[in-house]
């Protein structure tokens, strides 16, 4: 196979141009989806992390089980279960709803673990110092502990957010018309791989700066652990 055949099959500009309107639509959906599921995951994760500061075994163990179960289940399994399984229980979720709930459960568990580690990395004395100035437990957590916790685990938070944005591509499986879904549609209509190549290019160009940033942060973090 020569270069021209290859270019015609994978880098076909005519087909890419033809597919570009629906690819743009897909990109918009991917961005909207990310703007939905990242905050959802952060909210769920913060709730889990705050709960984990409760030392009582009746909170601790169920919490750990919850987090581990949702970290063990592949997100696609969760999504398919919500979308194709729940209707049998009389609960029909639209694709958006299934994606939102699935990501809330899965992503929340990951964010929760990261934030928990962050809270544990803040010395206990910080809480004590804040309380000694008359702040309530909630205020001390919000103004003193959490900001430091977030700063300490910022690389992990960014890394997880990158993974979440990439993970939105599985919404294509439940026919939510995001970038990968639209690229697949265009590919199956034209029987040409160029739309998928275009989608891959969009992902990598948009996410590349984040990857670069992370690689710097992670190098520094690992070096500091010695």
């Amino acid at each position: 196979m020569g270069w021209e055949d290859f270019a015609a099959a994978f880098l076909n500009l005519a087909i890419m141009r033809e597919a570009s309107p629906i690819l743009v639509q897909g990109l918009v959906q991917t961005i909207l989806l990310s703007l939905l599921v990242v905050p959802l995951g952060l909210i769920g994760g913060t709730a889990l992390a705050l709960l984990s500061t409760v030392r009582h075994p009746l909170v601790r163990w169920p919490l750990m089980a919850w987090v581990d179960v949702f970290r063990a289940l592949p997100p696609l399994v969760l999504l398919v279960f919500l979308y194709a399984g729940l209707p049998f229980a009389g609960l029909e979720l639209p694709a958006w709803g299934a994606v939102a709930i699935g990501f809330f459960l899965n992503t929340g568990a990951y964010y929760g673990e990261i934030l928990r580690a962050g809270i544990e990395s803040v010395p206990r004395e910080q809480m004590e110092a804040a309380r000694s100035t008359g702040l309530t437990g909630g205020q001390a957590m919000a103004y003193v502990v959490l900001p430091q916790a977030v700063r300490n685990v910022l690389p992990d938070l960014i890394s997880n957010t990158l993974e979440v944005v990439k993970l939105t591509s599985i919404a294509s499986v439940v026919a939510l018309p995001e970038l990968l879904y639209q690229a697949r549609q265009a590919q199956s209509v034209t029987y040409n791989a160029s739309p998928i190549v275009a989608a891959a290019a969009v992902y990598s160009v948009l996410l590349w700066p984040v990857v670069r940033l992370l690689s710097r942060l992670e190098n520094r973090q690992l070096a500091a652990r010695r």
Binding site: M1, D5, F6, A9, F10, D68, V69, R71, A72, L73, P74, P75, L76, V77, V80, F81, Y83, A84, G85, L86, P87, F88, A89, G90, E92, L162, E163, K166, T168, S169, I170, S172, V173, L180, A183, R184, Q187, S188, Y191, N192, A193, I196, V197, A199, A200, Y203, S204, L207, W208, V210, V211, R212, L214, S215, E218, N219, L222, A223, R225, R226
Partner: protein, 238 residues
Amino acid sequence: MREARSAREGPAVTAWERFADSFFNARVAAEYLPKIVDGFWLTVTLALGIVATGLAAGLALALVRSLGLRPLNWLIVFVVDLFRALPPLVVIALLFFGLPAAGMQLSGFASTWLALSLVLMAFAEEIFWAGITSVPKGQWEAARSTGLTFLQTLRFVVLPQAVRLTIPPLTNRTIAITKGTALASVVAVQEILGAAHAGVSFSFNPTPLTLGALAYLVLFLPVVVFGRWVETRFAWRR
């Protein structure tokens, strides 16, 4: 997938009975359990294959990078960045739906294996590399001053320290990427999710999905707990 959603007509029963009959149906479970078990072993095979090739390729790239050959290192960084930025499902789609246009047909299994191996390779290279560079310069100098060669120093002095440092992040990343084997169901591989999903379509009952979810828990829950243990076990004491 949609056809299953309207197929839940039945005699008037209590909500719980209907729920149990739907999600924990013994007859359906018995019928589809063998398929799920087959899927389970397929998932295990796929996962082990990805871990083996992904980690080996990642380590190899990190070692090549440590030689410090400029143009080669730019290429490595480019490949690593690319596969960190691309969603795994996009890579699978490219290989499975794209390659036939080039007259090359990869099976769904091979596509998933190759795609996730590349993704794991990228993340593993990054982690190994960070580990190698975090070993202090003095370790290199001490070893070289006793006459060890570059490669001997890498092998006996630097890598053992680097690997220890990289075990927790590497374990977590490997687990996360291995869970991506479920994506193979999208390209018609009858691994756990694929088998379960097919079972739902055939039986008009979601019990196979319940079984599938349980199978994933059986497989990955111990792995996640293991990852937790690794994190405390190898926590850097200082």
